[in-house]
């Protein structure tokens, strides 16, 4: 049997210098076929914008958590009615949409365990300074957004979110506040995305659009209320750039620099791996 050519420099092989491996030619022709069939329509501008929009929506959702926190921590709002109505609403939605996975047991367990743990949480970070808590929360949010952008629905992202909520909740003043904050955040950040995803699956785009608009309105109104119009404008422009401008660059990058193709990367020039 004839020895096969190997793509290794340190081997002395019985091949001429200008040897071209037949495998290479075959794979290149395959690659061209693949590019013609699959690659072009997969990354159209519209699709990428929609993907970015979804991610943007999740980030806005996360923003709702800070909105709630600020309302409770700085403005000392009474969260009871809001929590009650939101919980009723989510139960209503659950019964309306017949979620098979949402039995009655699991929400009851969650609610009661949070009721038990909220006094402990309240006293948890009493001796720690607020700055450290803000820093920890900031990092946790960053990790959360990163994990969401990698995979929209994963265990790690949910856990990061809950940890973030627990850390923030430990700053609140009363046990009721802590409990309500936990419940609201879980409903807004775990149940709401779940609900929205099921809307998308059922192709109920109008309702989804309505939730999206409502979400944006709440966040923007709150930012305007707290930080003023200048910040709101900057925020709006940056989010517009993110949703509509960045996809262009993404496509450009995917066309020219991305080496995600398994066939391409196999024959490309490689960097040496040194110990």
């Amino acid at each position: 049997m004839e020895p096969r050519w190997k793509r290794l420099l340190w081997l002395k092989q019985e091949f001429p210098d200008n040897h071209t491996d037949p495998e290479f030619l075959r794979e290149v022709s395959q690659l061209q076929k693949v590019e013609q069939i699959a690659r072009k329509p997969s990354s159209s501008y519209q699709q990428v914008v929609i993907d970015f929009l979804l991610l943007y929506h999740r980030v806005l959702n996360t923003g709702l958590m800070y909105v709630t926190f600020t309302l409770l921590y700085y403005y000392r709002c009474d969260p009871m009615y809001f929590t009650g109505s939101l919980t009723c609403l989510s139960f209503l939605a659950a019964t309306l949409f017949h979620y098979a996975r949402m039995s009655l047991k699991s929400p009851l367990i969650i609610i009661f365990s949070m009721l038990v743990l909220s006094p402990v949480l309240k006293s948890l970070s009493r001796t720690t300074s607020s700055d450290s808590i803000w820093t920890i929360s900031g990092w946790l949010t960053l990790f959360y957004v990163t994990s969401v952008s990698v995979r929209s629905q994963s265990i790690v992202s949910t856990n990061l979110l809950v940890a973030n909520v627990a850390v923030l909740g430990s700053r609140l003043n009363s046990t009721t506040d802590v409990f309500c904050f936990l419940l609201i955040c879980i409903e807004l950040n775990v149940l709401l995305p779940y609900f929205e995803r099921s809307l998308l699956e059922r192709k109920l785009f109008i309702i989804y659009g309505a939730t999206f608009v409502a979400n944006s309105v709440v966040v923007y109104y709150f930012v305007a209320l707290c930080l003023g119009w200048i910040y709101t404008t900057v925020f709006a422009f940056s989010s517009l750039t993110f949703v509509f401008g960045l996809p262009r660059y993404f496509l450009y990058w995917q066309d020219h620099y991305c080496k995600n193709e398994p066939l391409l990367s196999r024959w490309d020039a490689k960097r040496p791996i040194l110990d």
Binding site: I155, N159, V162, A166
Partner: protein, 603 residues
């Protein structure tokens, strides 16, 4: 190839030409016994003792030219000079180091003898010594003086003198027999009683569900002394039996040529061990007398001092530190509620134990009573008992600190364990016990939420647990250290190879650790030398003990265990097992000792 073993100082004071008389057994070299005149040798031959005992003429010796070998021509000759060992002074040559520990316990000290065996075997292979039977030759050399004695008897034709000696001995025995037998009987009964008591005590102390030996060093000390007491009759019998057989050898040479082959050095290690133990006990008691006197003299001062120290160290300091922990010490951010709870718990225990027993026990009166007890024990049973009681006293008084340590270690360990499990949950993984690995797992939403909430809470509580754990670990260590030092002193006093060390100085021939063949002057002449046991070999059990201690307390794995919160304990029994290597694992039964003693007295 022939080997001739030539005693040093044989030629001294001899002139002219002599006949070299030697003896050998199968597979050994020739051992030269004497340089005889021609007439002497011929008279020996005439008497027929040459054939009987195997005395052979192997050559000639001239004062001018030295030894010429004539027994068999055309063979290479190696002359090995040796200093005749005196068996009655317990000197002998041996290929292996003399066993200071019991052979069945050799594995405990990592067997230095085993290594020597190997090197010896290599030596055998290298120089093809196996064919001439080095071991047998060494045995023959050890018997040199007996063979020489026989030769002298034969040449003097002193048969009748021998018998008269025998009858004299017998007569003397008959005179003293009756009262001696009575005394012997008494001694035997006493010994059996003592042995029975000691054996019962050992069994009681080692009884399974509550192994007292593992808890208290006093129990350990009693156990050690009882074991030694149980082993004494056995050792005594072994030593004396071999002596009696030796004396019988001396008297009836005629009949038993085979008995002379029996190696008499077998009981010497027993002899050394026996007297080492006796000496150590005597030492112990004499130290104990002086310590007891000292303690009794300064009883009041010591009591006041100890009272002051115990109150300060065991109550006030601990109280102060535990209180300080609940007020954010050194600016460390502890969880206020938890720290308060833990410190209240420990403070309550401290107050309780102080008012319950520490206060009463450490009162000046109690301590002075205790000191008088210790000094009496020290006078009667030796300083080791005093030390053992002191160790037990300290460990009893510091019980609350040990308790805190175990509680905080347990809590800390649990916390770490739970946190590890929850961390797996955080990453969506789960430990698979069946395959002993971590697998991915799909969790329900409620599991995730609760797990993460608990995880966050535990992370915030960790520093509080950690600081309590660190504090009580330090306290526990500071209590353990003096105990360890005291126990090490006890180990020294109990097991120090004093007798062997003195023998090493006095007469190294008695503790052979092998042999050494030194070439003389380049020719085929060698000098056989005794290689006495080195200090390293003698102190080997201590080296092993130290290594075990270092292994147990000063390694990375121990540090890791402390870090993870595994409670550290003194595995007293396992550690000092090395030093018990001169005692059998299970004391012999009283009935066996009885039968052997009776047979000894009746013989």
């Amino acid at each position: 190839m022939q080997y001739v073993f030539w005693p040093q100082s044989l030629e001294e004071g001899k002139h002219g030409s002599r006949t070299v008389v030697a003896v050998r057994e199968s597979d050994t070299g020739w051992m030269v016994l004497a340089l005889l005149e021609k007439q002497e040798y011929s008279s020996l031959v005439k008497a027929g003792s040459c054939e009987k005992y195997g005395f052979t003429n192997i050559g000639k010796w001239e004062s001018s030219s030295g030894f010429t070998f004539e027994f068999s021509k055309n063979t290479a000759l190696f002359l090995v000079k040796f200093k005749p060992p005196r068996l009655n002074l317990m000197q002998f040559y041996s290929l292996e180091p003399i066993a200071l520990v019991l052979p069945e316990k050799d594995y405990l000290i990592g067997s230095a003898a085993g290594n020597n065996h190997n090197s010896l075997r290599e030596f055998h292979k290298g120089s093809e010594l196996s064919e001439f039977g080095l071991r047998k030759s060494i045995n023959l050399i050890n018997m040199y003086r007996k063979h020489l004695h026989r030769l002298n008897l034969a040449s003097e034709k002193g048969h009748y003198r021998e018998t008269s000696q025998l009858s004299l001995l017998l007569a003397r025995g008959a005179v003293f027999r009756r009262p001696v037998t009575g005394l012997r009987r008494c001694a035997v009964y006493l010994t059996i009683c003592a042995h029975f008591l000691a054996a019962t005590l050992v069994t009681f102390l080692n009884m399974k569900p509550l192994k007292l030996v593992n808890f208290s060093s006093t129990a350990q000390q009693i156990d050690l002394r009882c074991r030694q007491l149980c082993y004494f009759p056995e050792q005594f019998l072994r030593i004396n039996n071999s002596e009696s057989s030796g004396s019988s050898q001396r008297t009836d040479v005629k009949s038993q040529t085979s008995r002379i082959r029996m190696f008499p050095c077998n009981s010497y290690p027993d002899y050394i061990r026996f007297y080492n133990t006796i000496w150590l006990i005597a030492n112990d008691v004499s130290f104990g007398l002086s310590l007891g006197a000292l303690l009794a003299e300064n009883q009041c001062n010591i009591a006041v001092f100890l009272n002051d120290m115990f109150t300060r160290c065991l109550y006030e300091r601990v109280h102060f530190v535990t209180t300080a922990l609940s007020h954010n010490p050194l600016g460390i951010k502890l969880n206020g509620e938890l720290a308060k709870f833990l410190s209240d718990l420990f403070l309550w225990t401290i107050d309780f134990s102080y008012s319950m027993y520490i206060k009463r026990i450490t009162s000046t009166r109690c301590i002075s009573i205790f000191i008088s007890i210790v000094s009496t024990a020290s006078c009667f049973f030796g300083v080791t008992f005093a030390l053992a009681i002191a160790v037990d006293f300290v460990s009893f008084l510091t019980m609350h600190i040990s308790l805190f340590y175990f509680i905080s270690a347990k809590m800390y360990h649990w916390q770490l364990h739970v946190m590890q499990t929850l961390l797996y949950l955080f990453c969506g993984k789960k430990r698979n016990v069946l395959r002993n690995r971590v697998d991915s797992n799909l969790f329900e939403l409620d599991q995730l939420l609760m797990g993460t909430l608990f995880f966050t809470i535990l992370i915030f509580l960790l520093p509080t647990f950690l600081i309590f754990y660190v504090l009580f670990t330090i306290l526990r260590l500071s209590v353990l250290l003096p105990e360890l030092i005291l126990e090490f002193v006890m180990a020294l006093l109990n097991h120090f190879p004093l007798f062997v060390l003195l023998l090493r100085i006095k007469d190294p021939m008695r503790i052979p650790g092998g042999i050494l063949l030194q070439p003389i002057g380049g020719g085929p002449e060698f000098k056989l030398k005794n290689n006495p046991l080195s200090l390293k070999q003698i102190l080997r059990p201590y080296a092993v003990l130290l290594a075990t201690m270092v292994d147990n307390y000063f390694t990375l794995s121990t540090f890791r265990e402390i870090l993870v919160g595994f409670p550290m304990t003194i595995k007293r029994h396992r550690m000092y097992r090395v030093l018990y290597s001169t005692l059998p694992e299970v004391p012999t039964k009283t009935s066996e000792v009885w039968t052997s003693l009776m047979s000894f007295t009746n013989s």
